[in-house]
Amino acid sequence: MPTPHPSAQRANALRHLTTRLVTDLRGRENTYFLILAVLLLVAFPLFMDVFRLNLVGKYLTYAFVSLGLVLCWGYGGILSLGQGVFFGLGGYCMAMFLKLEASDPVSTSIQSTPGIPDFMDWNQLKALPLFWAPFRSFGFTLIAIAVVPAVLAALLGIPMFRRRVGGVYFAIITQAVASILAILIVGQQGYTGGINGITDLKTLHGWDIRTDSAKRILYYVNALLLLGGVGVGFSILRSKLGRLLVALRDREERVLFTGYDVASIKTFVFVLAAIYSAVGGAMFTLQVGFMSPSFVGIVPSIEMVIAAAVGGRGSLFGAIYGTLLVNFGKTYFSESFPELWLFVIGALFIAVVMLFPDGLAGIDLRGAILRLVLRVRGGRRPMAASAAPPAKGELSAEPAGSSGAGAVGT
């Protein structure tokens, strides 16, 4: 039964990758961080017109989710298929604030109850529901964006992690939560705007968020927040907490019998990931101008996971670039040949899992080709392919780049 060997080795390779990140992290990260900063803050704004820039801005909001996933999945080993829930909650909090500002009594004078959001009026609500009222305050909104998802994540996480629910079960339960929330939002349209979502958002404290200048500013805000997120991520990975997460993933029981409250640590990283997603969601609402249940559901949640996987679940940078590439790919393909898109993305998922389990970050084209050839020959994968992971990187640099271009440029 030769098959398990490659997978075992690949799992091993993944551990190597993350370990390297944890141990000799201080190395090139700072340079990489600079490059990323230049790319986001200088290169993109120079390269692109407002339209494309706004597009990138939108993609970067997904990158928040990927960052969270790297921490909680790549390191913590907790795969959540419900990140869309948190993305959505963050987005909805922001949307509620903007919607209230957009529906002042004057501009809603045609309604039978002026001063409340239009969709409430259509659903015969005569007054603003209680839980909407606080969202008139921007301060409260900002807090809610972080707190609401955090609380939900904690409520989900604590009981399950205490009972040592993990892996597959956790994934499936979070997935179910996603579908519940989606149904709920669609069903309670009087309070949530239903399937149309909360649309037609105009101003933030009187500042029109639809103008080109506003979009540029929002893009920069978003980029800076993202870089901040990367910073936080690294401060964790470089700390003992980072090593603890790896330890948790590899030997949970040992950690438990070392006197750590494993449940609380897992909850922390899950909550953190939730907050990342929520911030992304809020920025999405600001840049795209609406929020709808189509982000809360299962499909977007899984696509976010995939984006992270493509970039490399073990690398914060990888997650960001992966997200950008996947979404550029999506846009590009659905513009040129819509029919092909699903085939491409589907194939991409499979390829990533089968050939590059560490994503672009850990890509090892030489090994991949070797594996492929040998697999065609029906042989087993040679030790050589992953024998010396430390050597991988330098060797695989070029292929990684070119294959990245191949994924999108062609």
């Binding site: 551990r15 003992k240 330890a247 030997r251 019998f257 006197g259 409250d261 640590i265």
Partner: protein
């Protein structure tokens, strides 16, 4: 000998009717090395699980320094001062020996303290001292997966020592070790027992003879015999049980 550090009273647990441990009452004192022996399925490991909170007893109590342990969660029991080593060596292969030991450093051990953790001189000192104790001083920089089987066992013991436990629960510490390593491990355990108690589950009788002050023999979850090795060895029931298998 001083006051008992660990007491179990009529401890029982059953899995779907199968009684793994039944009405077991034992007492362990400080500075004592206690060996638990018995044929397979006698409930040795289950006993350790019950003490360390890995398994909840169906009935009975476990008292540690007079404090009731049943109902406490695993990490609380560890923090109370009980270290547990598993049958198969479990260390963090992807971390270095130093990091492995560091992981057990008994700071508050919350996510926050872990995030804020800094390597103080005193931490390093402690780690080096323990590393020396478990014969790994010169391997501190190496990744744990590069260690030999015996060394992994020692590393795990070392990780326990960092926690400054007052009671050590060791599940087959010398299983699969070379003769030389066994000698050194025996030596190690002798030193360990100073100021704390050690409970060892072991099959290797020579090893047990070397280290154990007293021996507890389990059979089918029940206490069969207890006392110094010599006495127990002569006990006909014990002989019957062992030869019977």
């Amino acid at each position: 000998m001083s006051a008992p550090i660990l007491q179990t009273e009529s401890l029982s647990v059953s899995f779907d009717g199968f009684k793994a441990v039944e009405n077991l009452s034992i007492t362990v004192d400080t500075d004592e090395v206690r060996a638990i022996i018995g044929p397979n399925g006698a409930g040795k490991t289950t006993l350790l699980d019950l003490i360390s909170g890995r398994t909840a007893p169906t009935s009975g109590q476990v008292r540690f320094k007079g404090r009731e342990l049943t109902g406490m969660r695993e990490f609380q029991i560890v923090r109370a001062g009980i270290g547990r080593k598993f049958q198969t060596p479990s260390v963090y292969e992807s971390l270095t020996v130093f990091e492995n030991l560091e992981m057990s450093y008994p700071d508050p051990r919350s996510w926050w303290s872990a995030w804020r953790f800094r390597r103080s001189a005193e931490v390093v000192a402690l780690i080096e001292q323990v590393a020396d104790q478990v014969y790994l001083k010169d391997r501190l920089k190496d990744r744990a997966e590069t260690l030999g089987h015996g060394q992994k066992q020692w590393l795990e013991i070392g990780a326990l020592l960092i926690q400054r436990p007052e009671l050590l629960l060791l599940d087959e510490p010398v299983a699969g070790m070379s003769v030389g390593d066994r000698e050194m491990t025996a030596e190690l355990l002798k030193n360990l027992s100073k100021g704390r108690a050690v409970v060892v589950v072991e099959h290797d009788m020579d090893f047990v003879k070397k280290i154990a002050h007293r021996v507890t023999v389990l059979h089918q979850g029940r206490l069969l015999a207890e006392g110094p090795m010599e006495g127990v060895q002569g006990d006909p029931r014990v002989i019957e049980v062992y030869l019977g298998h």
